[in-house]
Symmetry: C2
DNA sequence: TTATGTGGGACTATTTTAGTCCTATTTGAA
DNA sequence: TTCAAATAGGACTAAAATAGTCCCACATAA
C-alpha cells in the first residue's frame, strides 16, 4: 500500500541490532554477521545513518558504530527520514507543491493532513519498540483489515 | 517520507471530480478537461478504477463514468489499494514475509503494527473529505490519536 | 450506420532502487 | 614507525518500477 525502500528496512534492522548493545562500538563487519545482511549493504546503511547523526562512528582499528542516542530517543519517523527523505505521501502534500491543478483539485489539503497524521504516529514509535526491547509490547488493535468489500 | 505513485494521486483528483457531480455520467475526455490532466492518463486511471469497482462505466456514445458508491463510502485506503496494491510499508510487514532474518530481527512485528495503524487511519478518511465536500473538515488530532501506538 | 465512448493491452522512455566495488583517510597497536 | 583494521565518500551497473502514450477491438445511442 505504502512503501518504503529496502534500505530503510535494513537500517531498522541494523539499528535494532545496535540497540541490543548500546554500550558497545560495533564494526560494520560484525553487524553484518549479526543481521545476516551483506557487508557492503550494512556499510552503506551505516554511512547514511552516521551522516544523519543517528549513529556515531569511530574510524581506524577498533573502530565501528554505536547509537548516537538511546533507543527511546530514536523514532520511526527519524529512521524514515534518513533514506526516504521528507517526501510526502503525494507530491501535492510535499513542501513545494506546484502541481498546477492545485486550485481545482483541492485534494492536496486533505492528503496533507493525512500525511501529517501518519507522521505524528511514526514519531510515537521508538526504536526501543521496533527492536522489541519493550516488555510492554506495542498495543495496536488486531491486524489490518484486508481488502474491504463494501457495496 | 512515504510515497504513493502519481497515478494514485491522479485517481484521487479524478474521483474528487466525479464526487462533485455524483449524479452525472462523465466521459473521460470531459474529466480530463475538468482535472486538467491529459486524456490518456485520465483514461488509464478510470480503467483501473472501474476494474476495482470504484466507478461504473457506460460504453458507447454518451457513455462515461460515475461513482459506484457515494463519496462517504469510498475511503482513502480503498483508493490506495487500486494502484498501489496491498503492499505493506516494508516487505517484512507484507503477507508473505520470508526475509530470512525474520527470527533475528524481530523488527517485522512492530512494523506490521505500524502499518496496520496507518491503514486504519486511511480507512477513516473518505473521498468526501478528500474532495473537500465536508463542511466539517478533517480533525487531524483525532486522526493522530487513532493511529497512536500505545506502549 | 456512424459518432462517440470504453476495454484491454502493448510499448517505450525515464527514473528509482539495489547492491557492489574502489580508493582515500583515519587510528590503534605491535 | 609501520601495518592492519576500519570508516568516508563516491562511482558504477544492473534491475525494477513508473509514467505516459498509443493502438485496436468492442459497445451503443442517435
Amino acid at each position: 500500500m505504502l512503501r518504503m525502500g529496502k534500505i530503510t528496512d535494513y537500517a531498522t534492522v541494523v539499528l535494532a541490532s545496535l540497540a541490543q548493545e548500546p554500550a558497545l562500538t560495533l564494526a560494520a563487519a560484525e553487524l553484518a554477521v549479526r543481521t545476516r545482511l551483506s557487508r557492503p549493504t550494512v556499510s552503506k546503511v551505516l554511512k547514511g545513518l552516521q551522516r544523519a547523526g543517528m549513529v556515531i562512528s569511530s574510524r581506524g582499528a577498533q573502530g565501528g558504530y554505536r547509537l548516537a542516542r538511546s533507543p527511546e530517543q530514536i523514532t520511526a519517523a527519524q529512521i524514515l527520514d534518513v533514506f526516504e527523505g521528507p517526501i510526502a505521501i503525494t507530491e501535492c502534500s510535499g513542501a513545494s507543491s506546484q502541481c498546477g491543478i492545485e486550485r481545482q483539485c483541492r485534494v492536496g489539503g486533505a492528503w496533507q493532513r493525512v500525511n501529517a497524521a501518519i507522521r505524528r504516529a511514526l514519531e510515537e514509535v521508538t526504536l526501543r519498540q521496533l527492536a522489541g526491547l519493550d516488555s510492554a509490547t506495542l498495543r495496536v488493535a488486531d491486524l489490518a483489515s484486508e481488502i474491504r468489500i463494501d457495496t
